[in-house]
Amino acid sequence: MISYGSVTKRFRDGTVAVDDFSLSVPRGSLTVLAGSSGCGKTTLMRMVNRMVDPSEGRVAVDGQDVAGQDPVALRRRIGYVMQNSGLLPHRTVGQNIATVPRLTGMDRSAARRKAADMMDLVGLAPELANRYPAQLSGGQQQRVGVARGLAADPEILLMDEPFGAVDPLVRADLQRQLVELHHQLGTTILFVTHDMDEALTLGDHIVLLQAGARIAQQGTPKDFVSAPASDFVRDFLGLDRGQRTLRRETAADGSVLLVDPHGRPAGVLAE
């Protein structure tokens, strides 16, 4: 469980990235921090593993203030998956995935077995273990990133726009897999994105942030779509532009289509 208590982050140049932020992320949840770039969401996430230290307030993991903990030990027990995968280009896929187990003293062969298990878990073919990251597709690299983040069996997984750089089809596949993994492993996942569709797809709890990491609204995906709290939220969801307002239309064969304001079919209605 992660909790933020009145956290403020002021950078040296005087900008306030995070202004008096409080939030409690329940154990086992998949919580999404959403917002446009510069709203402080990544800064908030990096406070959990002490990549950033707050100027004021406290961040606690399982009730323990992280400020009192050795950052290196903390990072090794918190998984981290970043944008553009963040793989180490000079290590093979297998070595990348085995990084944290090796750092924490697991012997080479056990770490290799662990990496193979993780590859299986995220759906990577075993023969990719000896490839270098540059030899993989973007989607494969992201899978390796997820496998590496989970390799030390962390209770918390931090994900910083991990699927931002892959094409929509692959992204949808990765998202589906992440939801499955979350159900299967029960890991607490804190996920950062600027893409509201992604937030609605993944989050069982969504926190939408405005500049300075002020919470515009938090709740389930349904809360957001059915009861947006402000114009900012409506705008961010695209409700203003009517993008999420669908009309029924009956097709020639009698099936009921849902059509967006531009007349494009968004799907069929299942009765």
Partner: protein
């Protein structure tokens, strides 16, 4: 040709002296450049002074240096140590920038990922930063190796043994074969050393050669080769 056959032991002796003088200088230059290059990379205010200072060392004329060094470090004028020290200085002058450039060129996301995974700073430097800077450092080292082997011959003017002695001696005695042997062996030694470094690089950094699936990706192999201007 008969000169070569008649003087084989002498030639081998000079070749060995040349290797024994240039190789330690190359290794020392690398070892000294690593911390200096790291300082220039890590502490921005030091970047200018360190790199400029190192560059200026390369402007020192080598012959006067060979004469001044014995006074400074208390060695004999004919001591090969003078040459090793001088060559090390020139090597450092070239190498520091390669090390600093190599470290500057590490993809920031790789470095940040390593920190987030839980590398301690020293281990991260050795296991992540240094290997990723490797290709650029290697290209600098290749320049240093070749220039050191060629510069090493200058010691011959003071009578310090190296392949250079073959051409100063051959020149004085008018033996063309001796002059040519000295020149050809110097070039051959430089090329052999360069080849050896390339092969070692392939062995140690197989990842730097893997063809990338994305053509737009930044290549680590490209940058960093500097021009070697041999001071005389």
């Amino acid at each position: 040709m008969s000169w070569i056959l008649n003087n084989l032991p002498l030639i081998l002796d000079r070749l060995w002296a040349h290797v024994a003088t240039s190789l330690p200088a190359i290794v020392l230059a690398l070892l000294i450049s690593l911390p200096l290059g790291w300082l220039a990379h890590r502490y921005r205010p030091l970047n200018g002074p360190v790199l400029t200072g190192a560059g200026l060392m390369y402007a020192l004329p080598s012959l006067p240096l060979f004469i001044v060094l014995p006074v400074l470090i208390g060695t004999g004028v004919r001591d090969a140590v003078n040459v090793v020290v001088a060559l090390t200085l020139y090597g450092v002058a070239l190498m520091v920038r390669s090390v600093s450039d190599g470290l500057d060129g590490i993809p920031p996301e790789a470095r940040s990922a390593a920190t987030a995974l839980g590398y301690r700073p020293l281990r991260r430097f050795l296991a992540v930063d240094l290997p990723l800077a490797g290709p650029v450092i290697l290209s600098g080292l290749r320049v240093v190796a070749v220039s050191t082997v060629s510069l090493c011959t200058v010691g011959a003017v003071l009578g310090i043994p190296s392949l250079g002695l073959l051409f100063t001696d051959g020149f004085q005695r008018g033996i063309l074969a001796q002059i040519l042997t000295g020149i050809v062996l110097t070039v051959a030694l430089a090329l052999a050393l360069d080849r050896l470094l390339v092969l070692t690089g392939r062995l140690l950094m197989p990842w730097a050669r893997t063809p990338s699936r994305r053509t737009s990706r930044r290549s680590h192999r490209a940058g960093g080769v500097e021009r070697a201007v041999t001071p005389s």
